[in-house]
């Protein structure tokens, strides 16, 4: 990934998206391979230093339900060094949480809960944010709002995103890069701008005039045939 990229990792349920994410974050030890963030090879010694520049929102936004929105963000901010009250208030504004900042987190609607989760992930101004299926359970309006937040953070604040999902319409609207994961293996990765070019190379295929969804299915079928999955 490069700076300001929005990379989508797409794959079916159980393909290994969340596991790969946990591997990258050091929550699960990988069997092999290494993780490099900002040109630093992540290991047990420098993990805490590297994680300082990383924000994370795993599947369901988690927070202390008995505390208010502002208290939740303040608690998270306190784990980092030198985060001012102004920075906390700015985060609240960017995420559009002003109207609910003094409400208990458990009383928020699903959309606001997800915004709070994102606020807690970006309050320390990370360079890259990892989101694990962030739009799961959101209604269409909230999905649109959440998408706009990501675009805003990416364009105006230079935050890169690594997003796992299986909702392909999201990918087409947001991504700069895409990686397809199948059975724990990255079977293809490309710039979103290259998609049409890639589709054209499949000239003999019936799916050559389709979109990302068709390309994804084609690659998965191809992988399954090669590896005799489901045969």
């Amino acid at each position: 990934m490069d700076e300001r990229d929005i990379l989508f990792l797409i794959g079916a349920n159980g393909a290994g998206k969340s596991t790969l994410l946990k591997n990258i974050l050091g929550l699960v030890r990988p069997d092999s391979g290494s993780v490099r963030i900002e040109n630093s090879l992540m290991n047990t010694k420098n993990r805490l230093e590297i994680i300082h520049n990383v924000g994370v929102l795993l599947e369901n936004a988690s927070f202390y339900g008995h505390l208010t929105v502002k208290e939740n963000i303040s608690i998270i901010a306190a784990y980092y060094n030198d985060i001012s009250q102004k920075q906390i208030q700015d985060t609240i504004s960017i995420l559009g949480l002003e109207s609910v900042q003094n409400r208990l987190a458990s009383e928020l609607s699903t959309g606001f809960k997800q915004r709070l989760g994102l606020a807690m992930s970006i309050v320390h101004k990370p360079k890259i944010v990892f989101l694990d299926e962030p739009t799961n359970g959101l209604d269409p309006q909230n999905i649109i709002d959440f998408r706009e937040l990501i675009i805003n953070l990416n364009k105006n604040y230079g935050v890169s995103f690594f997003i796992t999902t299986h909702i392909l319409t999201e990918v087409e609207k947001l991504s700069t890069k895409v990686a397809i994961i199948r059975d724990g293996t990255i079977i293809d990765s490309f710039q979103m701008s290259e998609l049409n070019q890639k589709m054209e190379t499949l000239i003999d295929s019936e799916i050559s005039k389709g979109g990302l969804e068709d390309y994804y299915l084609f690659k998965c079928n191809q992988y399954d045939k090669t590896h005799k999955i489901g045969v």
């Binding site: 946990k22 974050l25 699960v28 805490l48 369901n60 988690s62 608690i75 998270i76 980092y80």
Partner: protein
């Protein structure tokens, strides 16, 4: 570390944990009050005098078991509560994603537990000394040989006996809670069982709240437990997968 302890405090300050702790403070107070009436019984005064014991020692030692049990329960509740805040709110995995060592975060939970329980203990002793001392000294001053309060004894009781014992139980219980983090009831009931068996010398939950002649051995055992379970907690966190 102080910043982390404050954070842990913030996480629970708006929860009903205070009610639970208050109940146990009331039990302490009731225990003192109960004993006050025991002291009106000539028999206990005679026992104290016949054993040539400072009545304050007698006073404290005779309620030590109740205090031990209440302190133990409070450590169990606080440890489980602090962890449940993370588990119930699904914040446990997030703790691993902060730029702070997980060991330090867990250590701050233990230190908060110890601080709160020790604060309760000071409250109880303050209550005993400042509320009952005047009453006892007025009505039963003959029992106190003119020495109303043995200050070194009280400080010794707090810092030499209770504190190492509280730290020991807190570390042991924290390790249990980490080991069974997805089922806090397991560690809680092991704790309750341990408290009922705390009369066994040198068991993890024994508190030695009474003055013994072999107190150095008891303190040494506490320190060994603390070192051992600090190591176990460290290993548990190293092997933890989310």
């Amino acid at each position: 570390m102080i910043k982390l302890i404050k954070l842990e405090f913030k996480k629970i300050q708006k929860t009903p944990i205070w009610l639970v702790l208050l109940v146990f403070i009331l039990i302490f107070f009731y225990s003192c009050y109960d004993l006050y009436y025991d002291f009106q019984n000539q028999f206990w005064r005679d026992v104290s005098v016949s054993q040539d014991m400072n009545p304050w020692h007698f006073f404290i030692n005779s309620q030590a078991r109740k205090i031990e049990f209440c302190i133990g329960i409070n450590i169990l509740i606080l440890t489980a509560w602090l962890h449940q805040q993370e588990i119930v709110n699904e914040m446990w995995h997030r703790l691993f994603l902060f730029p702070k060592s997980m060991f330090n975060i867990v250590l701050s939970k233990i230190l908060l537990t110890i601080s709160l329980v020790f604060l309760q203990l000071i409250l109880v002793f303050a209550f005993t000394v400042f509320i009952f001392k005047p009453k006892l000294s007025v009505y039963y001053s003959f029992l106190f040989y003119g020495k109303y309060l043995d200050t070194p004894f009280f400080y010794g009781q707090w810092f030499l006996f209770y504190l190492p014992a509280i730290i020991k139980v807190a570390f042991f219980q924290e390790w249990l809670t980490l080991k069974f983090r997805n089922s806090y009831l397991t560690s809680f009931f092991i704790g309750i069982l341990g408290l009922f068996l705390s009369f066994i010398d040198y068991s993890p939950y024994s508190m030695y709240c009474t003055i013994h002649t072999y107190f150095l051995k008891e303190i040494t055992v506490s320190i060994i437990y603390i070192v051992l379970f600090t190591y176990f907690i460290y290993k548990e966190l190293q092997n933890a997968e989310i």
